[in-house]
Symmetry: D2
């Protein structure tokens, strides 16, 4: 069984800030958002976690192995470097979606995301060290078969992008509904999903679903480990095996 | 009539680089991609352009006012700071999709995006200064009505994200097919579209389409100017007018 | 005659901020300072200016070609991305030190650098466009002869560093007193000086002074142009000529 | 007794890279250097270490608590994000200068810093975990008494800077010769020194020396701990005590 620790990262009162006193320059907002994401990637990543940019003002992290102090330090480090602050909700569950649900509720109960008085909330229950296992995190790394040959080198770049987006939208919904998994586009033709204990058949069905739904052909490597980083790296190696063996689903565990 | 100058930015041979000699750590790739995007935002933004991250390995910019030398300097600046290089294709057209189509073809003709020997290509035809007008760029800035109240403060963050993504997927396809416009998610509940000369009725139809298709309620501010930055800032101000007046479509021109 | 436009960049109320409510983590301060400097390098650099980090909380820029609007935009861009703001004082003079003196006075008259109420000051007089000439900026790029062979590959790194620092301290004081030039260490064994209209003999004397004072052997390339960037690039090329010709002083002008 | 673990960080073949095929733009070099330093600050800092920029192409870190694997991961992370690579030499000693001396020798023996074939060297002996103690690292944080009132708000910024630099140059040499300590300017009017087991009298003498030598008045807070970060934070708190109590030397230990 998995036990995924999920952290919801919410920029405090961000919407109002972007238009106060008047709309801020878009290039500066884009710079701020993408750098904050890059920094969080490093801050969580240096502690074996993964962060996904999702909506940028709300980001989702897999944080098995990080305790409340680690989260507090990351929160402080953001405040020391940015004009905005972040609130953090933490929860673990066999179902990634359920974990994120509770993490979301914790922040919602502390006040609205656009309440200027609700800042730097830190709530939740990291997994105690003795309760952690080597099967807590299951990560699946999907990509599109021959995306460069079929799309990038053939289509208008925007039409390539639409194809990739359609594949992602179809996959994210299937994985959410059928498995309570959380799937994130991570650039190129890659999607990384935070999964419960899914088996090979489940992944084949997901790939079939996307092919039938939007005619995008995926393959997937799956890793399982104590932390997001270890599971994610296994998933990448498994995906390389798919590439070399021309298979659709590969697992690799430590 | 619009005359949008579009630049396709393609990281050279990026896919193979990410797995050579073996898969690179995901947190470093995420950091690299989002920082490169932040830097391009500033490099183009300091010259009145806009860049969208789209797939990150392929980014799309609106570059009215930037000539070939400006592009060459940006290309050099990336090579001076990153372990990867970029190729650039430039084209202008009344149809943003057509401009991007030609820009894409220019790079495709120079070789595959995954050809190690095809690096730092710079091709295309910036608009000569005398041919530029104050109506060259039309930018529409969409957001979701009360996204914080309806989604962020109510739903599981991932389900909020799915709602936003559905709205985006529906909008991007409608705008592409009906108007040859290019629409990009830019964080939060915001989408920025690079449009041809669309009128108020066109935008109302787009909003209606998304409501009927996926039950997401949008509003939009539209700006028109000589450069992306000026048009984009007008669009933001127009969107603020929508917010205050509770209207669905507002134009603001200089 | 030169006419160097100098901008003093001062982080507002920075000292108190670093220890309020209690001392902030040094790694975050170092990250903040060096990134702010990197961003200013790009913001001024994209407009043909040069910035030197000097004390980091006070930075000095050569800004020929930037008007008040350019400065205001840079100021806004910093506020949009950092937890601190900056004040700017601008002045031009044949003497770089005199220009900086007036720029300093402008900020001092607006209030103390540690007055919480004195923020985002922008004062001064950029050179009007018609008054600019191709000889406004003279930049000298010094380095140490065979620093790698004599120091880096031979000495304890700290002792190499002490040697370089001694050379820099001697040069900066001589150039300031004898010529009202402003000299900045820029990494490695390199010093860049913002100079008035000095001639070859003046540079030979400076090199002789440093050799006699602290036994460090320098060479120098000098450029003169309308902007810092053009003069600085000429200086670099001139320094390459010194290297190949084994000469001590070279000029290159456009 | 202290046992400071020092890491020398050397950018591989950096000098030649900066002028190949011709001199690279200074603003890009400055951006590269200061960002690389910021990243190393975070990479070492997230593991309780401190990094000093010193010459930027050669940086010096205090790394108690980081083993060879931590160093390898940092080295890999730099290669994944920058156009340059770094070599690392590690050594611990009661004398910080002796530790750095051995670390320097390790890299020098592997080849010249400007040898294109000598890249990503990792050599040295981190302290084994059982040998570590709570007194391994002694850090002193100096600043100038009333630098803002006496210098920043009174003098031309460059003359303030010369005063601070003189204080630093005098202190760094005294601390090196009298105590084998390594002192680094860290911005503003702050110097952080990596010290052997010095006592209060030693620090009083250092302050007296600088006052007599260059008429700059310092105070100092000293911390001692298992890691650089803990010792450094103690030093900052001790310096705050100096400020409030108007004393010249304060110790704080955990």
């Amino acid at each position: 069984m998995t036990n995924t620790q999920v952290t919801l990262i919410q920029i405090d009162n961000y919407g109002p800030w972007t238009v106060t006193p008047e709309p801020r320059r878009e290039v500066d907002l884009q710079t701020l958002q993408s750098r904050l994401y890059a920094d969080l990637s490093q801050l969580f990543g240096n502690r074996e976690g993964y962060v996904f940019f999702s909506r940028f003002d709300n980001m989702i992290a897999v944080t098995n192995g990080l305790d409340a102090d680690d989260h507090a330090l990351i929160q402080e480090s953001v405040a020391n470097r940015y004009p905005v602050t972040v609130s953090l909700g933490i929860e673990a569950d066999a179902s990634p979606a359920a974990a994120l649900g509770t993490a979301s509720t914790q922040l919602q109960e502390a006040g609205s995301a656009q309440d200027a008085a609700r800042t730097e909330i830190l709530r939740g229950d990291p997994i105690p060290e003795p309760a952690r296992t080597g099967e807590d995190v299951q990560i699946a790394h999907f990509d599109v078969n021959d995306a460069t040959g079929k799309y990038t080198d053939q289509l208008n770049e925007f039409d390539s992008f639409i194809r990739i987006e359609q594949g992602y939208a179809s996959l994210m919904q299937h994985m959410r509904k059928a498995h309570e998994a959380l799937s994130f586009f991570v650039g190129g033709d890659n999607v990384i999903a935070i999964c419960p204990a899914m088996d090979e058949e489940d992944y084949r069905e997901a790939i079939d679903h996307v092919r039938e739904d939007v005619e995008v052909e995926l393959k997937v490597g799956v890793g399982r480990a104590r932390t997001a980083q270890a599971a994610g790296m296994d998933a990448k190696h498994a995906l390389e095996t798919c590439r070399h063996e021309e298979t659709a689903v590969e697992f690799r565990t430590q």
